[in-house]
């Protein structure tokens, strides 16, 4: 969806902003190890579907959608704990009783309510006409409400100007529209640094240990001058910003089978492969910190795109552009 081919002139001609999209019942379990904010692939998939709807539309058939910027205003996982310090459990739903009148087994799920803003790259070979812009706004506003996002359904958008089009040169005008929210950024550099720090203390530590370290709090006693002991709480991630562990794609763990070989897959018409989740760190960044041109804090670097690496069987979502 987001691959910009070199042999034609398709490029980013503008951006679509979807403002304050309220999503109910999104899947809050983002991977086998993490929960909270849904997986990035849940949103990219939804915009990919939208891009395919554009291909069927008369006035937008030359237009497609590229990378997606994720800005989260609010995320409420639906869970419960009897009192603080207890574990949380997800609130479950009961399924309809079985044909013999007995209770059906519970299928465990985790849901959350979200308020999100999205900025999506609009790809085309020529700049959009005013009619095309109007049509894109009109259509995508309807489509986003008709399709699911991260497993949840879209309950509504902002009341005023819910979908806006920005010219390619005008990207910084998006920033004030995203406030107040946090933008999800890749924190590969921070992760590399933390792995480094952890391995300094323990040379045998793996990156997974480092990932778990990010979630751990260390209580360290410190004897004060008067002999009292003071307990300090420290964390590996302090000083790096708001870091969160998250999945960033899939690693193939088998060979790539030809289409039709694997049984009972969703799409037998495509080749398929067994995969497992790949983890990394993400960082929530306030949009106003993303207005520096160039460098790490450029808003142009905040867009998530698909990337497939056939040599290492990696199916990734990434913000890097330099592959």
């Amino acid at each position: 969806m987001s691959r910009v081919d070199d042999d034609n002139n398709i490029g980013i001609v503008g951006y679509l902003l979807f403002k304050k999209v309220m999503i109910d019942g999104a899947n809050t379990i983002s991977s086998p190890l993490t929960y909270g904010f849904p997986a990035i692939t849940g949103f990219l998939g939804s915009f990919h579907a939208m891009s395919r709807k554009m291909a069927d539309d008369e006035s937008l058939s030359e237009v497609s959608l590229g990378g997606v910027l994720l800005a989260c205003h609010d995320c409420q996982p639906q869970m419960y704990r009897p009192n603080s310090y207890n574990n949380y459990t997800f609130n479950q739903t009961r399924n309809p009783i079985k044909k013999d009148g007995k209770t059906a087994s519970i299928i465990e799920e985790g849901k959350c309510r979200l308020v999100m803003s999205f900025v999506v790259e609009v790809l085309a070979d020529t700049t959009l006409t005013t009619e095309q812009q109007a049509s894109a706004i009109q259509n995508t506003k309807q489509w986003i409400q008709q399709q699911r996002m991260a497993g949840g359904s879209v309950r509504g958008l902002a009341i005023f100007e819910p979908v806006q089009f920005f010219d390619n040169s005008d990207i910084s005008a998006v920033i004030p529209q995203l406030l107040p929210a946090f933008v999800l950024m890749d924190a590969q550099n921070e992760f590399a640094q933390i792995i480094n720090d952890v391995q300094k203390d323990d040379p045998d530590a793996t990156p997974l240990d480092a990932l778990i370290e990010v979630c751990a709090l260390h209580q360290i006693p410190e004897t004060q001058k008067n002999g009292d002991t003071k307990w300090l709480t420290t964390s590996r991630k302090s000083g790096h910003g708001w870091l969160v562990p998250m999945p960033v794609g899939y690693q193939g763990i088998s060979e790539l089978y030809d289409s039709g070989v694997m049984q009972n897959v969703r799409n037998p018409e495509y080749p398929s492969q067994y995969v497992e989740a790949v983890y990394s760190l993400g960082k929530w960044v306030y949009p106003q910190r993303l207005n520096r041109i160039g460098g790490e804090h450029d808003i142009a670097n905040a867009f998530w795109r698909y990337r497939y690496d056939a040599d290492d069987s990696l199916y990734l979502v990434t913000q890097r552009q330099d592959f």
Binding site: D24, N91, Q92, T93, K98, K99, G101, R266
Partner: protein, 341 residues
Amino acid sequence: MSKSALKTASVLAFERNLDVSDAYLWQTDSKAANKATSPSPVVIKEKSVRGTISNRLKNTITNDLAKLDAETEKANLQKVDSASLDENNDTLVARFSLKVLPFTGKPNVCNDQDYQKALEQVVTDYIDTQGVDELARRYAINVLNARWLWRNRVGTESIKITVKCNDQTIIIDDAKAYGLKNFNSDDANIRQVADWIKAGLNGDEFIILYVEAQAIIGYGQEVYPSQELILDTGSKKSKVLYRVSDRRGSEDNAGMHSQKVSNAIRTIDDWYPDAEFPIAVEPYGAVTTLGTAFRQPKAKMDFYTLFDNWVLNGDAPDISQQHYVMGVLIRGGVFGASGKE
């Protein structure tokens, strides 16, 4: 491929076409001098009560009189959630939105193209010959008769329903005039709402209905939100009610689960064998509160029997059962045939 070679796809799922939101419960006063006072949320409060032992006791205890006395004289302390109107409010305001998505019979996922083609043909034929009029009419009645208020509907003095779609508004002053037992009611309001739902299902336009009920239930009366299903409550609280929002200032706003509201909206199936009252459209006609499934597979009237005969063998059931099968597809669900069988 010949028709007999067709078999059900192993991965087959439908998205719901009536996408219902959670219902938010608010309150207001019908007698307020200033009608402009805005409603406030119904708040869930925690109550600690000293109950009595009133459960049926085990035989070993009932046979021993001394033990029985000791047991029944004990206090039964419990902590529960409850929700009620404030003492100066007599009206429960419940709101939800109902999004109607285009129904084309195209599955959300299906891993067998031949099967999908046959299935879409069946749905297209149904829409061409029957249309979704009957289904839309029944859904509309269930929106307007306030069935979706469930227990909150019982014992109300009156219920006013407001349905908004685009710029149009429909107001029903006495929702209880529409019965719950049958779908014989018919008037201009029902037809209007049915037309909206029909337009949404046919994909003619994008339809989202904003539904509001104002039920006069009396000052300070209890309201009944959904109860949460929590697998591990600890021993702290025996009942946790649904808080629909965690937003600051209205964290404890009571609500009803979308599942509960949509179950009421699709309570349109009075086509099951020996039907006496409508039940929700479910593959086996299951009604949880009665612990009964009204469409037993042995009666050959369950969804899978009807659906497979229709799609695989081209054997269309009665028109009423056709409505039912389409109702299940509109409800959505996972209907694939396991490869293990």
